[in-house]
Symmetry: C2
Subunit: 238 residues, 2 copies
Amino acid sequence: MTVTGSRGRRERLRAETTAEIKKVALALMASGGPDAITLRAIAREMGMTANAIYGYFPTRDDLVTTLINDVYTALADAVDTAWEATPSADPAVRIEAWANAFRTWALINPQGFRLIYGDPVPGYQAPEGGPAPDAAHRVCTGLTALAAAAWPHARHLYQDSAFDWSDFDPGLLGKVRPAFPDLPPAAVALALRIWGHLHGLVSLEVYGHMRTQTTSPEKLFQEELAQLMRMLGIPRQR
Amino acid sequence: MTVTGSRGRRERLRAETTAEIKKVALALMASGGPDAITLRAIAREMGMTANAIYGYFPTRDDLVTTLINDVYTALADAVDTAWEATPSADPAVRIEAWANAFRTWALINPQGFRLIYGDPVPGYQAPEGGPAPDAAHRVCTGLTALAAAAWPHARHLYQDSAFDWSDFDPGLLGKVRPAFPDLPPAAVALALRIWGHLHGLVSLEVYGHMRTQTTSPEKLFQEELAQLMRMLGIPRQR
DNA sequence: GCGAAAACTATACGCCGTGAAGTTTCTGTA
DNA sequence: TACAGAAACTTCACGGCGTATAGTTTTCGC
């Protein structure tokens, strides 16, 4: 046993190489978009042969799946952090922090956003289970926390919601219901719709479709937040 | 001069070939997604050499640009038709018709939706001007018509909107302002935000991100429409 | 009927993912 | 400590991609 642990030496090297592959892949993605993630480019960057990567990832799609997981987790971390870093007394401020963190992350990591939410890469097909849905559930759970924080104000607006628990994915509910035991299905539906609103504006902006419509997507998003408060029945501040 | 017009014979064949290339490309896209649009595959399907296509489109991206234009125009036609086919007396019904046409088109043509709004194809970069922005402006104008129809109800909700005409693209305003001379900037901002809402929900559904959250995206969308009416100040029907 | 232009093919280059086989380097054990 | 075997990595190969260049066939206008 050395200081680093002789038993793990080979595994340590392996883990380092795996990490480097991912790091290089993310760098390529950041500079050239998801399509720039090619085994050959990664290998070139690392001074290896493309086929060497097959010792670490069985196929390029598996590498991409791993990256999606990492990036999605980073997004979930970013919004969770923003949420938790904001005082919980005023739900409006917290919600604004969450939403702004979401948009800001997307604008700083547009390629990551594309990787997660777009056609990730030429012929890529998302695997059924896997950890990416987990991160998606984390984001949705965060949104539900948002809805839960506002629910005292919002509930009277969604009395006639037709939603039932059976309308939602069990995996999502397994996270959401324990965390918010008193919340009705209508609140989860509300959370998903808020997701849709934010995702829509942000993805139009990230993909450049707003550029030919408005010069100030920022202003549009802030007005969206103001209305989000109305939608949640939260009275206007200041 | 023959019956078909001898002068145009060569040009007619040319037009027919161009049309066939586009037709085959769209078929490939419908079955295999935007990435399946390959010059070689098109040529194979047509019994030609891949290079023959260069006589019709200078590059693959130009072909894709043309397709985007066509598909985007088809989408714009679909929503315009739905709008015009609905009696104008009741704005709620008209707006619902528009939004449902948008979603229905996307669900029937998911690959087309991806082509328009996603990373269209591996390394594709959208050209600056071109006719695709035109179709986008048509869609936005349709949305503005929607906002305009509801504006008598909605205006009091958006008194404090901070928008100015300079916040919008001149090309868009060139279409919108003549069509709706009395509409303020706030209404255009409202239209863009509605676009965001609908786009968000539909794109999450089309890209499969809703599948791991809810089993009834349809219900979610209908509730979205109900709230859209509230957002526009339109009183509940029935 | 013929010259020119248009339509198309052949060949080639450099990308890509990936499979099969071979080579080097390390490691646990006899 | 020597060595079998595993792990890491390279080499070579195949087929697919966009596209540039050069050559061939077909067609049209005069």
